[in-house]
Amino acid sequence: MLAAVARPTTFRDVADALTLLVLLTEFAMLRSSLPRSQVRLYAFQSLAVTALAALVAARHGLGDLYVIAALTLVLKVVLVPWIILRVLRDAGTEVAGSHRLGVATMVLIALAVSIFGFFTIGSMPFHSSSLPTPALGLSVAEILVAFMIVVLRADVVSQAAGFFSLENGVSVVSLVVASGLPLVVETAFLFDLVVAVVVFGILMRVHHRRTDTLSTGVLDRLRG
């Protein structure tokens, strides 16, 4: 259609491929049954986001973005997965397959939701100066799939990982439409994420101490 006119370039292809990788990892997180592998997938996804940030920085000569990429690498690829894996190791229990629905059903639902997001954003008059504009639709789709993870998985680790990967999606969105955000603001976002991760970690521990499980199946007391 309209974009078929645009000449694809190498930069564009690499950027598209990385964004797609972020989305595909999200789907993999949705279906992977072990929380541990989910966290590893998250680390991998963060790596893709880092690469994307570095790519944009190199392409447009944005020094700030190199800093962001480095911070992302340290925080999201190393620190955050480390924190969660430690919680998991200390908990000593494994929740295998906390899917609320069958995997195929979940994937299809998430697919429908992400397509919805993709086309909704596609109909908006966005134009990105830093990345191919469809990356926006893909990252919004990724955010919606992250929502599906939180909704459709029933253990605290998956839900937390879902939230963190949602944040990855937002990072990509901001790379696409707001690559010029001031460094101080971006850094504030990132450190906020780290604080959130620490709190998630504490609450996961609290949850495990009280209920002796990582499943959220026991969280049904409060109603009405």
Binding site: A3, D13, D16, G102, L111, G137, L138
Partner: protein, 320 residues
């Protein structure tokens, strides 16, 4: 001055290549697979010997089976003969009959083949054959959306759904072939081929447990020449799918650029070499993964569909 082949002759040569060399590729794949598992394995030409042996035997037809039992394998074989007319097996320029059908048309013909085999299986009244037939049709229906979307993707990128032109578009630039949408489509089609050629993780090709069988189960009641036709047909089907995977999507190089007899004949070993390389990849996959439980196969289908769908999305809005 080199001898030129008439277009009709080239076309006949394409069909002939598929018919004659499909057992070779199957045998080679089985051989490599056995080697990877540390076995000596069957000889590369074993499939030919098997076919020859089967053709020399008598045909047994179950008591209450009708003419469909006999017609099914033959119709399927005819279908497999037809498809190579439409796809670029040896030449990179469209041959006259190549315009008969687009890639959907080829898909329909393959579908008819599967259908007739399933009908023949249903005709036997034998539980395992019927089970195989119905499973094959069910999973075939489930994988169908992925095939459709792969076709759409490639059609969107190249602006046509004639296999020859798609191959030409893939060949036009390496960059174009490496575009994310194209890569996703290839990946999705790869999964489709895994399913349609009855490989792991969908079905274990060397399996002898009838409960896990899908495609293999259909042929349990056939014997003698009819069984030979079925086996031959299934190895042809495999090679046809390899052709589409290689010569349309991934590596449409080494095809004959003209009708000179030398270049057309040279294209045959090149093509078989590529097909064998793909066979090796499939053999490696067979050895690296385990077969999915029957009820988990839908997850495999969902994954294929997901990737195909993403390919369409990216190609529609991204142009790339």
């Amino acid at each position: 001055m080199a001898v030129e082949l008439a277009p009709a002759e080239s076309q006949a040569l394409q069909v002939l290549t598929i018919v004659a060399l499909a057992p070779l590729v199957s045998g080679f794949t089985a051989h490599v697979e056995a080697r990877l598992q540390g076995r000596r394995g069957p000889r590369v030409l074993q499939v030919y010997y098997d076919l020859a042996k089967l053709f020399s035997k008598e045909t047994l037809v179950p008591e209450d089976a009708g003419w469909v039992f006999v017609a099914g394998p033959i119709v399927a074989f005819a279908c497999y003969l037809l498809v190579p007319l439409l796809i670029p097996v040896l030449t990179d320029f469209p041959l006259p009959l190549g315009y008969m059908g687009d890639i959907m048309g080829g898909g329909f013909i393959l579908g008819l083949a599967g259908f007739s085999v399933a009908l023949a299986a249903a005709e036997t009244n034998a539980p395992y054959a019927q089970l195989g037939g119905s499973r094959a049709m069910t999973f075939g229906a489930l994988i169908e959306p992925s095939i459709l979307f792969v076709t759409f993707t490639v059609a969107i990128i190249t602006g046509t759904d004639l296999p020859y032109f798609q191959a030409a578009a893939s060949r036009a630039s390496v960059a174009a072939a490496l575009r994310p949408a194209h890569l996703l489509a290839v990946l999705a089609f790869f999964l489709v081929v895994l399913n349609d050629t009855a490989r792991i993780p969908v079905e274990s090709p060397a399996s002898t447990t009838e409960f896990g069988m899908i495609d293999e189960g259909r042929t349990l009641e056939h014997s003698g020449p009819l069984f030979a036709v079925l086996r031959w047909g299934s190895s042809m089907k495999q090679l046809i799918l390899y052709v589409i995977l290689i010569n349309v999507f991934t590596a449409p190089w080494g095809l004959a650029g003209s009708e000179r007899i030398g270049s057309v004949l040279l294209a045959i070993p090149i093509f078989i070499g590529k097909a064998m390389a793909v066979g090796v990849i499939f053999a490696v996959i067979d050895n690296s993964f385990s077969k999915l439980r029957l009820f988990k196969i839908t997850e495999f289908m969902a994954a294929a569909f997901l990737i195909a769908m993403l390919a369409v999305l990216v190609s529609i809005l991204g142009g790339g």
